[in-house]
C-alpha cells in the first residue's frame, strides 16, 4: 500500500496527511477552526487555480480533442469545424509500416537512446565530481562556481557556441581532432549525418551534469561525519567508504535526480533546435522536434496532437512504473 501512495492522486483523509508529513503538521490545530475550515485556503489558491486551468488544463483538454479531429491547415482558423476522425490520427501514428508511423518510431528510438546515454553520463560525471569534491581543498569554492556556468548561461547562447565549435571548417572540434591530434583522417561533419547524434549527446551532457553535481553535492552534506569516522576507525579505506557509505546514502536523491534528468532530456527541444534548426538530421531527430516539425511544416495539428498525447502517455507510464519500482526497492532495502 505504501508503494502506491506516492503516485495516488486521490485526496487523502486528514489523518493520513498528519501521518505522512510527520510531526510538523501536528501543530495545525492551533490555527482557529473558523479559518481552517473556511474558504481562505481556496481563496489564496484562486489565482493559481484560474491560471492553471487556463494554461494547463484547458490546453490539455483541447489538445486531446484536437487529436481526434482531422485538423489540417484548412481548419487552423476555426478548429471546431474540423471533421471528427476518431482514432484515425492515432492509427496513422502507430502504423509503423507506413512513412509517418515509421518516422515516429525511429524518432522515439533516437530519443530513447539519446536520453539513456545523456542521462547516464550526466549522472556519472555529476556524481563523480561531487564525490571528489566532498572534502575541502584549495580552490574548491572556485571550481564549484565554475561548474555552475552551464547552468547559468542561457540555453541558446551556450548551444549556439557548441554549434560553432562543431562547424566542419572553422570549428574547434575538428581543429583539435584533425589538425592537432590527427585522430580523424579528414574534417568530419558534426551537425549533419550520423555524427550529429554524438554532438547532441555531448551538448546535453555539458548542460545537465551540473544539475546532477548540485543535487548530489547537497545530499553529501547531509551524511553525518560520524559514519565516516566510525568506518575509518574500523579500518575502512577511502574507496571503501565511498562504496559503502557515500553511494548508499545517495539513494533517495538519485531517485529524484534520475527521474528529473530523464524527463528534461526526453523533452529537450532547445538543444536540437538550436544545433540543427527546424529539421534535425535523421540520426538526431528527437521526438519534440519531430512533433514540432510534423505539426508546423504540414500544419497537420490533429496528427501532431495525437503524437503529443502518445508522448504524454509514455511519460506517465514510465514515471508511474519508475516511482512504484523505486519506492518498493527503498522499502525493502530500508527495512
Amino acid at each position: 500500500m505504501t508503494a502506491t501512495d506516492t503516485t495516488s492522486q486521490v485526496p487523502q483523509a486528514a489523518g493520513d496527511d498528519v501521518l505522512k508529513s510527520g510531526g510538523a503538521r501536528g501543530r495545525f490545530p492551533r490555527i482557529p477552526d473558523r479559518i481552517r475550515r473556511g474558504g481562505l485556503p481556496y481563496l489564496l489558491l484562486l489565482p493559481a487555480l484560474v491560471l492553471e486551468l487556463l494554461i494547463h488544463i484547458l490546453p490539455m483538454i483541447i489538445g486531446m480533442v484536437m487529436s481526434f479531429r482531422g485538423l489540417t491547415q484548412f481548419f487552423i482558423r476555426n478548429w471546431s469545424n474540423a471533421p471528427w476522425t476518431g482514432l484515425h490520427n492515432y492509427r496513422v501514428a502507430v502504423d509503423f509500416d507506413a512513412p509517418i508511423g515509421k518516422a515516429l518510431l525511429h524518432s522515439f528510438y533516437v530519443t530513447l537512446g539519446f536520453t539513456l546515454l545523456a542521462v547516464g553520463l550526466s549522472w556519472l560525471v555529476g556524481t563523480g565530481t561531487a564525490v571528489l569534491m566532498q572534502e575541502n581543498f584549495r580552490g574548491r569554492g572556485l571550481l564549484r562556481t565554475i561548474f555552475l556556468v552551464p547552468y547559468a548561461l542561457p540555453a541558446y547562447a551556450a548551444i549556439i557556441t557548441w554549434a560553432f565549435m562543431f562547424q566542419r571548417d572553422n570549428g574547434l572540434v575538428n581543429h583539435v581532432l584533425h589538425d592537432q591530434l590527427h585522430i580523424t583522417d579528414k574534417p568530419s561533419f558534426w551537425l549533419i549525418g550520423d555524427n550529429s547524434f554524438y554532438a547532441l549527446v555531448i551538448v546535453a551532457i555539458w548542460k545537465s551534469w551540473p544539475f546532477a553535481f548540485l543535487m548530489v553535492m547537497a545530499a553529501l552534506q547531509n551524511i553525518p561525519r560520524e559514519l565516516y569516522e566510525a568506518a575509518s576507525i574500523d579500518g575502512a579505506g577511502l574507496w571503501q567508504q565511498i562504496r559503502k557509505i557515500t553511494m548508499p546514502s545517495l539513494r533517495p536523491v538519485n531517485q529524484v535526480l534520475v527521474l528529473v534528468l530523464f524527463l528534461w532530456t526526453f523533452n529537450d527541444f532547445n538543444t536540437p533546435y538550436v544545433l540543427f534548426g527546424k529539421s534535425a538530421p535523421e540520426s538526431a531527430d528527437l521526438i519534440s522536434i519531430h512533433i514540432y516539425q510534423s505539426s508546423f511544416d504540414t500544419w497537420n495539428f490533429g496528427s501532431g496532437s495525437a503524437m503529443s498525447v502518445l508522448l504524454l502517455l509514455f511519460l506517465l507510464v514510465v514515471t508511474t512504473v519508475y516511482l512504484i519500482f523505486t519506492s518498493r526497492g527503498r522499502k525493502t532495502s530500508d527495512g
Binding site: Q12, N136, R140, V149, T161, W206, F266, N267, F301
Partner: protein
C-alpha cells in the same frame, strides 16, 4: 574562496569525510578528473569570448586557440546587423513579466499549501508537480490554436504578441515557482506566523508581515530562476513571435545570412545576452542552489 556557499563549519574542520588525510591516489584522481571537467565546462566560454574578439576573416577560417587579429568591432556591429536592442527589450519584458506574475501568484498558492490543510490539496500539488514533467510541445499546439481562434473571433491578437508569449511562459514558470516557494515557506517556522495571528494579524497580515519578509531571499531566487528559464526559452518563442515581438532566443538566428555567418557577432551577442542572467545567478547562487536542491535532498 569568498563565494563558498556552504553551511558554516568550524575553521579546523576542513576534512569532511575522514579524520585522516586522503590517500595520494585519491588526490591524483581528483586533480586529473577535475581538470578535465573544468576544461570541458569552460571551453565553450573561452570560444565565446575569444571568437567574439576576432575579425570576420579570422573566425571564418580555421579555428585558432589564440586569435590572429583582435577587434572589438563585433561588439559594435551586433546592434546594427539585427535589431538586437529590440529583441533585448522584448526578452526583458516577456521574461520579466512572466517571472513576476508567476511568483506573485505562487506566493499566495504556496502559502495556502504550506500553512493550511484542505480538501484537494494533494490533487493540487500533484497536478502542479506533474505539469512540470509534460513536454512543452504538448501545450504549444493547443495554445497556438487557442490564440489564433481568439484573434479570429475577437480581434485580440494574442498570437505574435508579447502578452500571448508571457501567458505561454507561465506554463513552465508558474508550476516551479509554486513548487519552490512551498519549499521555502515550509522552512519558515509556522510558530512565527501563528504568533503574529495571535497578536491580531489576519492570515494575510501574517503572510505579508512575517512569511514574505522571512522568505525574501527565496522569493528573489525563485523570481530570478523563473526569469532565467524564460530568458533561455526557445520553443514558444520560435512559434509565438513575429518581427516586432521576437525575443533574443529566436532573434540571434539573424546573424546567419545567405552569404555569411557572422560567427564573431553571434559569439559577441551570445556573451552580451548572457551577462544579465549570469551576473544574477552568481549573485544569488547560494539561495538558488538551496531552493533547487531542497526538495530532492530531504
Amino acid at each position: 574562496m569568498a563565494s563558498s556557499t556552504h553551511a558554516p563549519r568550524s575553521p579546523g574542520a576542513t576534512v569532511h569525510r575522514s579524520p585522516t588525510a586522503p590517500p595520494q591516489s585519491f588526490v591524483w584522481t581528483r586533480r586529473v578528473v577535475l581538470t578535465l571537467i573544468t576544461v570541458f565546462t569552460l571551453v565553450p566560454v573561452y570560444v565565446m569570448l575569444s571568437s567574439s574578439l576576432k575579425p570576420l576573416s579570422d573566425v571564418s577560417g580555421k579555428f585558432s586557440w589564440i586569435p590572429n587579429g583582435f577587434s572589438i568591432r563585433p561588439y559594435v556591429d551586433i546592434w546594427s546587423t539585427i535589431p538586437l536592442a529590440r529583441y533585448f527589450v522584448n526578452s526583458l519584458i516577456v521574461a520579466g513579466t512572466a517571472s513576476i506574475c508567476s511568483v506573485v501568484v505562487a506566493i499566495f498558492a504556496a502559502y495556502s499549501v504550506s500553512r493550511y490543510r484542505f480538501r484537494g490539496k494533494r490533487v493540487f500539488t500533484v497536478t502542479v508537480l506533474s505539469t512540470q514533467m509534460f513536454p512543452g510541445i504538448l501545450f504549444l499546439l493547443p495554445l497556438f490554436l487557442i490564440f489564433v481562434n481568439i484573434g479570429n473571433s475577437t480581434g485580440i491578437d494574442l498570437y505574435g504578441s508579447r502578452g500571448g508569449l508571457i501567458l505561454t511562459y507561465l506554463t513552465f514558470s508558474l508550476p516551479f515557482s509554486i513548487w519552490m516557494l512551498i519549499g521555502y515557506f515550509d522552512s519558515i517556522p509556522k510558530d512565527l506566523d501563528e504568533a503574529a495571528m495571535v497578536d491580531g494579524c489576519g492570515p494575510l497580515g501574517a503572510l505579508f508581515r512575517v512569511v514574505v519578509p522571512a522568505a525574501i531571499p527565496g522569493i528573489v531566487a525563485v523570481t530570478l530562476y523563473a526569469f532565467m528559464t524564460a530568458w533561455g526559452e526557445v520553443l514558444f518563442a520560435s512559434v509565438m513571435t513575429n518581427d516586432n515581438t521576437r525575443t533574443l532566443a529566436v532573434g540571434l538566428q539573424g546573424y546567419s545570412t545567405q552569404n555569411d555567418v557572422y560567427w564573431n557577432q553571434i559569439m559577441a551577442a551570445s556573451l552580451v545576452v548572457s551577462i544579465p542572467v549570469v551576473a544574477g545567478f552568481l549573485l544569488l547562487q547560494r539561495y538558488l542552489v538551496a531552493g533547487l536542491t531542497a526538495g530532492a535532498v530531504k
